[in-house]
C-alpha cells in the first residue's frame, strides 16, 4: 500500500484528508492489514453448514399513520429557504 492507495480510498469514501492524516493513515493501515492477514492461514478443513436460516422478513404493506411532520425534516436540514430545502445543483 502506498500514499496513492490511501488517497484513492479516501476519494471513494468521500473524505477529505490532510497530508499529515494521509501519512498516519498509511502507517496504521499497513499495521492493521499486517495483523488481520493472519486469517489467510485458515483453510477450511470441514464442511460447515450454518445452523441459522437466512430469510427475508416481511411485514404487511398497510397504511399506518406515522409521527412525522415537514417541520421535523426542515429543522434538521442544514439549509432551507421559504419552506424549501436547499441543496447544491447536481447536474
Amino acid at each position: 500500500m502506498n500514499i496513492k492507495d490511501v488517497e484513492n480510498l479516501a476519494k471513494l469514501a468521500r473524505i477529505e484528508l490532510s497530508e499529515k492524516e494521509k501519512n498516519s493513515l498509511l502507517a496504521d493501515m499497513e499495521n492493521i492489514l499486517g495483523y488481520v492477514k493472519q486469517i489467510e492461514l485458515v483453510t477450511r478443513t470441514e464442511n460447515i453448514k450454518p445452523e441459522y436460516k437466512l430469510c427475508n422478513v416481511w411485514r404487511e404493506d398497510k397504511f399506518k399513520s406515522q409521527d412525522f411532520s415537514p417541520e421535523l425534516v426542515k429543522n434538521q436540514f442544514p439549509d432551507s429557504q421559504d419552506g424549501f430545502l436547499k441543496v447544491k445543483k447536481i447536474l
Binding site: 492507495d5 490511501v6 480510498l9 479516501a10 471513494l12 469514501a13 468521500r14 473524505i15 477529505e16 484528508l17 492524516e21 498516519s24 493513515l25 496504521d28 493501515m29 499495521n31 492493521i32 492489514l33 495483523y35 488481520v36 492477514k37 493472519q38 486469517i39 489467510e40 492461514l41 485458515v42 477450511r44 470441514e46 460447515i48 450454518p50 445452523e51 422478513v57 411485514r59 409521527d67 421535523l72 425534516v73 429543522n75 434538521q76 436540514f77 442544514p78 439549509d79 441543496v87 447544491k88 445543483k89 447536481i90
Partner: protein, 481 residues
C-alpha cells in the same frame, strides 16, 4: 442523603411503594451526585432538562396505582440511542447539532414503564473504541482511578453506574462495548443474544454484530432491564422473540443439577496481566467449590476472532456511515460543489478512528481484495460459530476473563490501533457468534495505591440469557468468600 451505593431496582421500587422516598427525591439525589462528579469524570455529555418533570410523572403513577417495577428508576442512555426531542451525537462532531426526531424502541419501552431518563453518556465516536478516548467530547475517566480510562465504547454508561450517576444504564455492544468497560468500572455488563433487543433507533455501527445491552451494579438489575427491552419489534426485522429455555440450576423444583462450565484454557494466559490471571483461577476454584464441573474445552478458530472482526466490522462501518454526508442533517461544511461538500463535511466531522475504519472497510470490500479479506473473514466467522456449537454440546456455559487486565492509563494505547483492538480478545468472539455474554465483577488488583476492578465473562448458547443470570447470581453470592 440516600444510600445510592447499595440501591437496587427492587429496593427503590419498594421504597417508592411504601413512601420511604419519592421518584423526585431519588432523581434529585442522582442529579446532586452528577453535579459533584461529572465535571471531573466526563460521564454525561448532557443531563436532560426534563429529568424532574419525568420524575414527577413517575410519582403520579405511584399515586394512581399504574406504576410498574421500572417506574421512577433513573436510567442513563448511551449517546447513540435516540430519544425524541433530545440531542444525540454518537460521540461525534458530525452529529453535534442533531436532535432525535423519533424515539428508539428501547426508549419507548423505558418511557412506557415510566423510567426516568437522566441523560446521554459519553462513548467512543460511533462506538469505535475501547476507552472513550475516541469521543469527540473528551475521555471519560475511570471512577476508581481518574488517571485511567473507563473502557469503551460504552465507557460513559459503565462509569455512570459506577459513580452512582444513575441506577442503571443502556449501552451497545459490537465487540465488547458493554462488557469490557463494565469490567474496568466494576459493574455488570450484559451483551444479549444478537437480535434479542430491537435496534430501531440505535445509530448503527456493524449491523451483523450490534446489540443494545444493559449495565447495572448487580445481575438482578441488569435482568430487569433486559426483560423490559427484549423481544421482537416490527421496526427491526432482525429482532426475534426469545424461546423459553429450561432452567438447569433448579430443574423443575427437583434436585440441583450442577452446571458444567467450559474453560478454553488454550486462549487464556498469553498477554494477560499476572494478577488478573490469578483472579481468574480463583474464580474457577470458587465455581468448583459450589459443585460446578469445570471442563477444559478447545475453541480452535476463536483465536482468529479479532483479526476477522477487524475485517467484517470496518466493512459494515464503511457502508453504514456513508449516510453522514451533511446534506439532510448533522454538520454541513460548504464546498465548491456537491462532491466538495461531502469531502469537507466528512473530513471535518469524523475523527481519526472513524476515518481509519471507513478506509479499511472500503479497502477490504474493494475489487481484488474482497476474496482475500471479506470472504475469508466471513468463512472464519462460520468456523467460530461452529466452535461454540460444538462446545455447547458438552458444556452449559463458557467462562473466560473479560479483559487481559485492569483499566489501562489514559493515552496508553491511543497511538497503536492494533493494541487497542486486542482489548476485544475475550469479548469479540461472542459478537462474532451472536451469543449472549455477561461481564461480572470478580475482584480487585492494587495499582499505584488504587483498587482497580476485574471482571469475568460467562458466555451462553443463543437465547439463554437466563443461564447467565442464574449462574451469575450464584457467583455473586460466593464472590467475596
Amino acid at each position: 442523603m440516600l444510600d445510592l451505593k447499595n440501591l437496587t431496582i427492587e429496593k427503590a421500587h419498594q421504597s417508592f411503594l411504601n413512601g420511604e422516598f419519592t421518584c423526585q427525591k431519588l432523581a434529585g439525589e442522582y442529579l446532586r451526585v452528577i453535579k459533584e462528579k461529572n465535571k471531573e469524570l466526563n460521564v454525561y455529555l448532557e443531563v436532560f432538562k426534563d429529568v424532574m418533570e419525568q420524575a414527577k410523572k413517575a410519582d403520579k403513577r405511584f399515586a394512581d396505582g399504574s406504576a410498574v417495577l421500572m417506574t421512577g428508576i433513573p436510567v442513563a442512555i448511551k449517546d447513540n440511542i435516540l430519544f425524541k426531542g433530545h440531542k444525540v451525537s454518537a460521540g461525534s462532531k458530525i452529529l453535534e447539532n442533531y436532535t432525535a426526531t423519533y424515539d428508539s424502541t428501547v426508549v419507548k419501552q423505558l418511557k412506557e414503564a415510566g423510567a426516568v431518563i437522566i441523560g446521554r453518556t459519553n462513548m467512543d465516536e460511533f462506538a469505535m473504541g475501547v476507552s472513550t478516548e475516541n469521543s469527540a467530547y473528551g475521555v471519560t475517566k475511570n471512577p476508581h482511578d481518574p488517571k485511567r480510562v473507563s473502557g469503551g465504547s460504552s465507557g460513559g454508561s459503565t462509569a455512570c453506574v459506577a459513580m452512582n450517576g444513575a441506577l442503571v444504564a443502556l449501552g451497545s455492544d459490537t465487540g465488547g462495548s458493554c462488557r469490557q468497560p463494565a469490567s474496568f468500572c466494576g459493574v455488570v455488563g450484559l451483551k444479549p443474544t444478537y437480535g434479542s433487543v430491537s435496534r430501531n433507533g440505535l445509530i448503527a455501527m456493524g449491523s451483523s454484530l450490534d446489540v443494545i445491552g444493559a449495565i447495572g451494579k448487580n445481575i438482578s438489575d441488569v435482568e430487569v432491564i433486559f426483560n423490559l427491552i427484549k423481544g421482537r419489534d416490527e421496526m427491526d426485522s432482525t429482532s426475534v422473540n426469545l424461546r423459553e429455555g429450561q432452567s438447569f440450576v433448579k430443574n423443575e423444583g427437583q434436585s440441583f443439577t450442577a452446571p458444567i462450565i467450559g474453560v478454553p484454557r488454550h486462549l487464556i494466559g498469553e498477554g494477560m496481566d499476572h494478577e488478573a490471571l490469578l483472579n481468574f483461577e480463583e474464580t474457577v476454584e470458587k465455581f468448583k467449590s459450589i459443585g460446578y464441573a469445570i471442563l477444559n474445552i478447545e475453541l480452535p478458530y476463536v483465536k482468529y476472532s479479532v483479526p476477522s472482526y477487524y475485517v467484517i466490522t470496518p466493512a459494515e462501518i464503511s457502508a453504514n456511515l456513508a449516510r453522514f454526508d451533511g446534506i439532510r442533517y448533522g454538520i454541513h461544511k460548504d464546498g465548491e460543489n456537491l462532491e466538495d461538500d461531502y469531502l469537507r463535511t466528512k473530513g471535518y466531522g469524523f475523527g481519526p478512528e472513524v476515518k481509519r475504519r471507513i478506509l479499511l472497510g472500503t479497502y477490504v470490500l474493494s475489487h481484488g481484495y474482497y476474496d482475500a479479506y471479506y470472504s475469508k473473514a466471513t468463512m472464519v466467522r462460520e468456523l467460530i460459530v461452529n466452535d461454540y456449537k460444538k462446545a455447547f454440546s458438552k458444556v452449559h456455559l463458557v467462562l473466560t476473563p473479560t479483559t487481559t487486565g485492569p483499566a489501562f492509563k489514559i493515552g496508553e494505547k491511543i497511538n497503536d490501533p492494533v493494541k487497542a483492538y486486542l482489548e476485544d480478545i475475550f469479548t469479540g468472539p461472542a459478537n462474532m457468534a451472536g451469543l449472549p455474554a455477561i461481564s461480572i465483577p470478580s475482584g480487585f488488583v492494587q495499582r499505584e495505591g488504587e483498587k482497580l476492578p476485574l471482571g469475568i465473562q460467562l458466555i451462553a448458547p443463543h437465547q439463554r440469557e437466563d443461564l447467565l443470570f442464574e449462574v451469575g447470581k450464584e457467583f455473586e453470592k460466593i464472590r467475596e468468600k
